[in-house]
């Protein structure tokens, strides 16, 4: 069952343009000029119940704008959105009971109150009986390991602790869909990992559908089974993670350390990425050549060490961004 259906969604922003310097400022005051920026153009997709889906794309691609339209914050110019059978522009308040949002760059907690008071507050906002809220807080406190700072005012928390509380605050009312807009921005790797594990567990335990945007590819790789890549307001790819890897991972990287210098010539399908002293780095296009072909080019007797790896997902994604730009 689809929980989110988006059809031909579009949104443009009117942005004032100003020429250089003081002269430009005066000019734009007398006769303002506007630029219409099409942030989202004709996007269509749907999300199934219990899915974990990632929206990725370069800055300004329109991913946040799309999320903000699905949550009812922004009004679309055209197209149709259906979230849990509701229209976000018309049934905003009703929808609010069903969804949760975390915007990594904004704050929703009351900074002078403790996380505990905050959670009680959000419970009351969603009309949840007090005893149920208490129970929920206990549950979350264990799951998100909040014991240490549950009674410390939010303003004294570290960023990692605060984000954890932000997520919990968005979960108090057990939303059916959770929108996470860059939830791991600015966090250290350990905390990032923790948050990922939590998101995963939530998805498993409560069957929460999760829509995520992030610039961190490992967020996506570790969490989501499906990715939608957006660039310049359009969907350039909507596929499963597996397919993405399968189709784009037909290149391997070979790192070798040799006893003596080898002079290698490039052949079709094998590119030399680095050749420094006794170290070599080759990229093998598996459509054209096999790994064995590449190794045969080297004298295996002189080999000290070898490492064969996939092309990092990050590179694949930037490759796709670039393709999208060419089109």
């Amino acid at each position: 069952m689809a929980v989110i259906t988006v059809e031909k969604l579009s949104k443009s922003f009117k942005v004032k343009i100003k020429e250089k310097g003081l002269k430009g400022s005066i000019k734009s005051f007398i006769k303002p000029k506007y630029n219409i920026i099409k942030a989202v153009k004709n996007i269509s997709f749907s999300v199934e119940k219990g899915e974990m889906i990632a929206f990725i794309g370069p800055n300004g691609a329109g991913k946040s704008t799309s999320i903000k339209m699905m949550t009812g914050i922004l009004f679309p110019d055209g197209g149709k959105i259906d979230v849990l059978g509701l229209d976000p522009t018309k049934d905003r308040k009703k929808l609010a009971y069903e969804i949760g949002c975390v915007f990594g760059q904004k704050e929703q907690l009351w900074t002078h109150l403790t996380p505990y008071d905050n959670f009680k507050f959000f419970g009351a906002i969603y009309d949840i009986p007090e005893s149920v809220v208490e129970q929920k807080i206990d549950e979350m406190r264990e799951l998100f390991e909040l014991d240490e700072f549950i009674n410390t005012p939010v303003r004294n928390l570290s960023l990692g602790q605060r984000i954890r509380c932000e997520i919990v605050a968005s979960l108090i009312h057990e939303p059916k869909i959770l929108f996470l807009d860059e939830p791991t921005i600015g966090l250290d790797p350990v905390v990032k990992e923790k948050i990922r594990t939590l998101i995963k567990r939530m998805n498993k335990e409560f069957k929460t559908t999760i829509v995520l945007t992030s610039h961190d590819v490992s967020d996506i790789e570790k969490l989501c089974k499906r990715v939608i890549i957006v660039n310049k307001g359009q969907i350039v790819l909507d596929d499963t993670m597996e397919n993405l890897k399968y189709h784009y991972l037909n290149k391997k990287i070979i790192d070798v350390k040799m006893k003596e210098k080898v002079n290698l010539e490039e052949v079709d399908g094998i590119t030399i990425l680095k050749d420094k002293d006794y170290n070599l780095k080759l990229e093998v296009d598996l459509k054209k050549k096999t790994i064995a072909d590449a190794i045969k080019l080297l004298n295996t007797d002189n080999m000290i060490d070898i490492n064969i790896s996939n092309v990092p997902l990050e590179d694949i994604i930037s490759e796709i961004y670039k393709d999208g730009e060419k089109e």
């Binding site: 946040s64 922004l74 904004k106 929703q108 009351a124 860059e182």
Partner: protein, 263 residues
């Protein structure tokens, strides 16, 4: 309704951590009252003189009450909060919550005002009693009537300032609108009673927000009568409804124009 009371309570809890800030605000209240004490002392040649229907004591009590209302309102903080919420896009979180932003602001700001009101009222009454050694006669009905009128005045004020702040949806900087409003209230409504203005202006002022947000409660305090109470409640009631509808209307129009770029 319960959720709005909770919003009120949370804001009150936050502000209880800032008692010290309110105490600092006391200084400026004392300075204001001191200036007016001297001014009216100078104007009234003799304390029993009556100018425009006010004795000197009534005049000073009038200023004490209007200043209590204005000081406890925290209007600048409210205006700044709304302009910021809209401009920085912080309003996004409020939109995804099952409450209405206007009512959220109203109840949370009442949380700010309530605490200040209680403290400044104690200070104001103290100054008045020490200096004037008398207080306008009080009765149970009068105290309740004046307090209710103060509450209505504060709600109308919050709603109108919110409406002005929400203009940030349409123009880049809405603070000049607030500046105009606050100066008008300060000069015309707080310092001098309506009776001090030219006769042709008085009917206009009587039906302007100035009557509803500062004149009515102060006048009731210094010169109470049942017809005045009724009149105050009717005009304030109408203003409450108008301000409520107007603010909601501006919000509904504005939120469609919201631009949140980046992040």
């Amino acid at each position: 309704m319960k959720k709005y009371l909770y919003i009120f309570k949370s804001e009150l809890m936050t502000n209880l951590q800032y008692i010290f800030d309110i105490l600092i605000g006391f200084i400026s209240y004392c300075i204001m009252i001191f200036i007016f004490l001297n001014l009216w002392n100078y104007i009234y040649s003799d304390p029993s003189e009556v100018i425009k229907g006010y004795t000197m004591n009534q005049m000073i009590w009038y200023v004490i009450v209007t200043e209590i209302l204005w000081m406890s309102l925290g209007s600048r903080k409210l205006n700044r909060k709304i302009c910021n919420d809209v401009r920085s896009g912080n309003i996004t979180y409020n939109i995804t919550k099952p409450y209405n932003y206007v009512e959220y602001i109203l109840f949370s700001h009442l949380g700010v005002t309530t605490l200040k009101f209680v403290m400044v009222t104690i200070l104001g009454l103290g100054i008045g009693l020490i200096y004037l050694k008398s207080i306008p006669t009080l009765s149970f009905v009068k105290v309740i009537g004046v307090l209710l009128s103060c509450l209505f005045a504060t709600i109308i004020n919050i709603l109108l300032i919110t409406a002005l702040g929400l203009f940030s949806f349409f123009i880049e900087d809405a603070s000049p609108l607030f500046w105009l409003y606050s100066k008008a209230i300060l000069v015309v409504g707080t310092i001098f009673p309506i009776e001090f203005f030219p006769a042709f202006l008085q009917p206009i002022m009587k039906y302007s927000p100035i009557y509803a947000v500062s004149y009515a409660p102060a006048k009731l305090f210094v010169d109470f009568s049942y017809p005045k109470l009724l009149e105050a409640f009717i005009i304030q009631g109408i203003y409450l409804i108008v301000a409520f509808l107007l603010t909601h209307w501006i919000y509904r129009k504005g939120v469609k124009k919201l631009n949140v770029n980046g992040g």
